[in-house]
């Protein structure tokens, strides 16, 4: 065996120096965000069209099948079941479309792209941030599409700017927060299938809220759950905006619940990310 001499701390003058790090971190995030958006457009059907199929079906068909429910006592004063369903289908769409960041990350782990990013000077954080921002953009677009479909379907919207703003902002925020579960799971397991297996979770979350039925029509035990389910408050807040009203309490409670979910899932992502870091 040869004897090895330990080097000191400096890079010698004879050693070539790498290109200096010049760009800021926001530029890195911007470049990776553009990449993530390009990717969405390249797999448009699976990332954008497919998650909208069921919500559009619910809005157009389900609302007609169950149109008569608005005559029940608890629905008194409602503008119609389709109007009632608009917030529900927006939240359904963003939950259906939310695993994209996680699935894309799992694919990056499988192809080795994740490793390439990890050993770059910026690490994985800007890529994950960019992916979640791209998800927010796409999920916000879902809200826009569903609002347009609702309008074409005859839903009356009393305050378009307010309703559209709340639908986009709250829908995208909820979707990104919820998508953190899939992202954390994929980071941990490296398996896209795990994220896909989590998709049906949106059913109990929506049904155990006021998304499809008013609080008064839910069984007592379910009312207790619906009260603490942020989806109920988000739906109530958006619904009020559709009717031209500002329901500050519902919006505050919905935002608080979404913030808690964001914090929880971001912690999971951070823990999973840390487990993969070199140091």
């Amino acid at each position: 065996m040869e004897a090895l001499s330990p080097p000191g701390n400096a890079v010698g003058a004879t050693v070539r120096t790498p290109v200096p790090l010049a760009g800021g971190r926001y530029q890195v995030v911007a470049a990776l965000y553009r990449r993530a958006i390009r990717e969405v457009t390249r797999v448009f059907i699976t990332t954008t069209l497919v998650p909208l199929v069921l919500p559009v079906f619910m809005l157009v068909i389900f609302s007609r099948v169950f149109a008569a429910v608005v005559t029940i006592h608890g629905f008194r004063g409602s503008a119609g079941y389709a109007t009632y369903l608009v917030p529900a289908v927006i939240l359904m769409a963003v939950m259906l479309g939310s695993p994209t960041a996680g699935i894309s990350t799992a694919v990056e782990l499988q192809t080795g792209f994740f490793d390439r990013v990890q050993i770059s000077p910026v690490g994985t954080a800007p890529n994950l941030t960019a992916r979640r921002l791209a998800d927010a953009t796409r999920l916000g677009l879902f809200a826009v599409v569903l609002m347009i479909v609702a309008r074409l379907d005859g839903v009356a919207v009393a305050n378009w700017p307010l309703a559209l703003f709340l639908a986009i902002a709250l829908g995208a925020w909820w979707g990104v927060a919820y998508g953190g579960i899939a992202l954390a799971v994929c980071l941990r397991s490296g398996s896209a299938e795990t994220a896909q297996a989590l998709v049906p979770l949106f059913f109990p979350i929506l049904f155990m809220s006021t998304a499809f039925m008013p609080m008064a029509l839910l069984p007592g035990w379910l009312q207790a759950i619906a009260h603490v389910n942020p989806v109920s408050h988000l739906c109530d807040g958006i619904r009020a905006a559709l009717a031209g009203r500002w329901d500050g309490r519902a919006l505050a409670e919905g935002a608080a619940g979404t913030a808690v979910l964001t914090l929880a899932t971001q912690t999971l992502v951070w823990v999973a990310q840390k487990a993969r870091r070199f140091a």
């Binding site: 001499s5 400096a10 004879t14 790090l21 010049a22 080795g112 490296g190 487990a275 070199f278």
Partner: protein, 367 residues
Amino acid sequence: MSAPFAEGSGVTAPIVSMPGGAPAPAPAPTLVWAEELTKTYAGTHRALLGVSLQADAGQVVGVVGPNGAGKSTMLKILATLIEPTSGRARICGSRLREVDKVRPLIGVSLQDVGLDPLMTVEEHLSIQGSLYRLRVAGAKRRAAELIDRFELGSFAGLPAGLCSGGIQRRLSLALALVNDPPVMIFDEPTVGLDPRSRRTVWDTIGELGRDGRAVVFATQYLDEADLLCDRLLLIDGGKVIASGRPAELKAQVGGPVVEVEVEDGPGPIRPLLQERLGSDEVLGEDGLGGGAKIAVRARRGAHDLARVVHIIEEGGWAIRRIALKEPTLDDVFMKMTGKAVEPTLGRGRGMDLAARTNRGGGKRWKP
């Protein structure tokens, strides 16, 4: 032997004086240094068992061994992708744990090419520039330079998933050079490539070494290690079984030999050769169907070959085949381990668009 750097934070060249005061050319500084690296996975699987390595500026160092020898683990540690269980390592003087200092200094192409099948060749280079925090204009300029250097122009707009394995590998090497680093780490850069693509990769590695960089690369192909490397580490079962310059290692298994196959003759051929050449010079004899195969030392190369031919023909044997054989790294590996390195043939580590769109896959080996 390389020159150690003076301790300190500044940029320091080693100073060497010659008798009479004339400054001697400074020896190449050590850019990669690792000592007694070990790695144990899942608490039980010992992938590396105290491997040490050194690569100086301008040197190509090969980590050579069969599948499962620990080559990739070694390189992943140097690439700051996984932590060693124990041992020390430095890149350009910085400890591996100082990832913020080390990562800008290394260019890495791992066994998985690490490409996004949906991104084009040009987009990959541009994104890689961003990851190394080049400004937009600088990243584009660098991408254009590398596309030109690696002859990727015809594929610039093609998604990586539609490129051949050879193009993907060339792109992977180009990506490792985006930040023009002094240290290059390549894991099995030619596995699964056709001969022409292999040759291109060899040329690139040779150029990088001549360019003053330290290149550490893993391979299971002993021929390319012999061709490219200034220094070699033969590893097996996570341990270094031999290290040194290829010529030194080959010298350990002896000099050239004449291998000769003869038809059946007037009697056993071995005693004749031992009598004429000396018993130590005849290395072995294998019986062949209707003949014999024997090896004889050939310290004087062609001269000894001619002598063997003369002795055999004079004795009345007919030569079926004869060759002067230089020792190879296979012989070194065989001598050290008692087994040959058996490369995996045609195992490309590329990917395709289907892999991306199916979005499936198994569990990743957890670092």
